[in-house]
Symmetry: C3
């Protein structure tokens, strides 16, 4: 879709300086942009790069000028860039089509305008909502339910009974609804605790590639609306994740832990079982949160076992000075403190 | 299968109090249970939740009473719950069927009563034991051997030559027998060390979703009977894991390390190469065990590099008090120790 | 292929002692080797194991002798063993064949002598170079380009537009080109930042099983020639990895970080966003490198946050002695320093 700089300024609510007739048909980074691409600049550090770009139209913070460019002034150029990208380059409508190699159970309930790729398997009683795209090699287990406007990239597995809301995107290789890891040791071996719960995923959730979300043992694993989960993340049985929380890559959440709303979890964080991260908590990358621990609302933690960030940093700074502290103790013992 | 409370009490060896004729047809958690579901209670903390449950029959520790419920007294209610679940809700027998889209080499050896799902590929010389279920999109490489009563969930890859025992379950997306990560640097580039060994997996092993187990370089990677491996776990070439050991999610075991029997490895643990964890050792979550290290039988370790748990905890407590220790040293230096 | 010990000695440039007519047809580890297998010995520690082996021919360091064996003396027996393995046991030429169940877009560009397995999907405009093998269940997205002599093991996903060089091997379950994890929070929810870049992978790259490499957001994620990536590794959007660098299992590299040439990254390392690891840097297992940090050329780091290895070891040694240091401070305060 091609728009003029003026149309884009109106859409975003921006102040325009320069040639308002410049045509814009997409977004790009400054180095790869062509004349008709929109770019953004949100830090003086990148001003030269923006100036050198072939792009003719730039989103900037108020007061910024770039010679020869059409300037759109906005309080948050990056956020406006995202909005512009979605406006200029909407996701292509899926072609409503069912590939002849898809194996779909006779009693599966497939809504209108769905796109089902080659070699998809949809089992008995599954439901697929309107406008949803299921790409090649996806497996939709018995009785699983997928909402509207979802997109499952190739090679996604939904075990039986799993439920997805609307506008859910799942990347290639992820597995939703596998058995939780629960055993009871007795009579010299492990007995498997029943893993007969399910997984419920809300609306507007995105899940990266090769992540795993286990079904609840007796109850459900619950992912609320707007949650974003990166690649290679593990979510164990009975975990609950609140609205608009974000989990970065390779993080693991153990059984029965609860993550509140708008929580931010960095990469490679380990959250043990029965923990609680209250609303707005932040766990820094590689943090380790021990069994049963509660992280208070808005608290920022780091380290293993996790501690408030400022405390951890102060302690870690002294950790670096341990050889010096030890030498000072020795001098005190020797009676030569300086 | 529906049983009376009396029949269940007899099966489990429980003391029954209350109405022995209550019908029981499955297990559930207290909140979701219906009248005919069995629940369990193993802590006074959850007594109210059990009392409120619609379930009519509860497994409890000796001496517990719940008004209006049929009570089965047992030393270990949770373990008995697991036994009851398996008795009341046995895994459905797979329907012995081979989907017409499965591609099976002419010389593959498929026993009776196997179930092979759609779009399965089974290569030359592979063997599948009786009563085994291979779900959609599984790939069974040349000469791989699978025992009896196994279940491969959708999208499992067995590379050529891999061997599974009986009653092995592998969850979706796991890869068994990929090449180990071994290179020798020479002449300005990495040369791949031969990765021509195999993987042998014993009986009663369960492997989670999206885990990876590499083949041995020259010998075999060996997983003994009863081992349980969670999701996203990495087991490198030539690793050996002893009977009834358990590895939680996202743990990695590097090349040629040996894990004994009944070892417990927490989540996100890193075990470097050529380590030994003796029988019954326990590595806490996120522990890091350096190259060549031995963890003695029954020892519990934590931290990176891993240390005995009690020592690590004591040291970490002092770590938290480092700012205070530093201030005390300063006061000593200034001659004002208090 | 069978060769005599003499032919092998000539090929490797080795000094031969013993029977030069011994036939050799492959390599093995000492315990499993048969008479006609080549083994190597590079440490006196393993001499007895080599002596007991059924193998008749052994690669050794100069000066080593083993009774009854044909000895090939070389400066680096392990490296020569690798070369010998590749010479004696070359990868079998793929049978150029396209399985009838492969679904290949009419305008895909498939070179000669390629092998395409069952249930492969190749979308519009994709290109596959000569002599390349694509195994079962691989998905090659629209416009993806694969060079010559590549091997994609079963169940690899290449998203649209991804480019691979020549002699690239990707193991089962890996996903190349999934959307990066980039969102902007505004108006009470996360908006997805455009993830419209691509992934370019050079020549001679090997990628393990179930790893994930995200496409660039606006630019490209770039993996240079000769890079080796282990299993379950995460490479985020816009990351660049230089020639001949090595990343061990379960390591994660966050967005826009740059890894130089011949860098070694241990297992479970976390590299935050916008980091730089200069040429030849080494990050020990489980190290955590914080946002924006630079690791200088040739530096070895460990710990979280990562520090130079020697410093970290010294500090960690004192960490272990913290209880003792605290006791010494107390004695100083009490006026009884010894």
């Amino acid at each position: 879709m091609t728009r003029t700089a003026r149309e884009l300024a109106n859409y975003l609510g921006a102040n325009l300086h320069g040639d308002s007739s410049v045509p814009i048909s997409g977004v790009a980074g400054p180095d790869r942009a062509q004349a008709h691409h929109l770019i953004y600049l949100d830090s003086p550090r990148h001003e030269e790069r923006a100036a050198r770009s072939a792009a003719l139209c730039v989103l900037v913070k108020p007061g910024t000028r770039l010679t020869g460019k059409t300037i759109l002034e906005l309080a948050d150029p990056k956020f406006s860039f995202v909005k512009a990208a979605q406006w200029l380059m909407p996701e292509p409508e899926p072609r409503p089509t069912v590939h002849p190699t898809a194996i779909i159970a006779a009693d599966a309930n497939i809504a209108g305008r769905v796109s089902i790729g080659p070699y998809v398997v949809i089992e008995e009683g599954a439901e697929i909502g309107a406008n949803t795209t299921i790409e090649a090699f996806c497996f939709i287990g018995r009785g699983a339910r997928i909402g509207e406007d979802c997109r499952l990239h190739p090679r996604v597995t939904l075990y039986a009974g799993v439920r997805l809301g609307n506008r859910v995107a799942i990347h290639s290789g992820s597995v939703i609804g596998s058995d939780g890891f629960g055993y009871v040791f007795g009579d010299g071996r492990y007995w498997k605790f029943p893993q007969i719960g399910t997984v419920t995923i809300g609306d507007d959730v995105e899940i990266g590639a090769n992540s795993t979300i286990d079904r609840g043992s007796l109850d459900a694993t619950e992912i609320a609306n707007g949650v974003k989960i990166d690649n290679l993340v593990q979510v164990a049985h009975n975990v609950r994740i609140g609205e608009h929380s974000v989990l970065a890559a390779q993080t693991g959440v153990s059984g029965s832990s609860t993550i509140g709303k708008r929580v931010t979890v960095g990469g490679q964080v380990g959250i043990a079982d029965h923990c609680t991260l209250e609303d707005g908590a932040i766990a820094g990358a590689q943090a380790g949160i021990p069994t049963g621990k509660t992280i208070r609302s808005g608290q920022v933690v780091w380290g293993t076992p996790a501690r408030p960030l400022e405390k951890f940093k102060e302690q870690y700074a002294w950790f670096a000075r341990l050889p010096e502290l030890a030498a000072r103790i020795r001098r005190l013992e020797e009676g030569t403190p300086k």
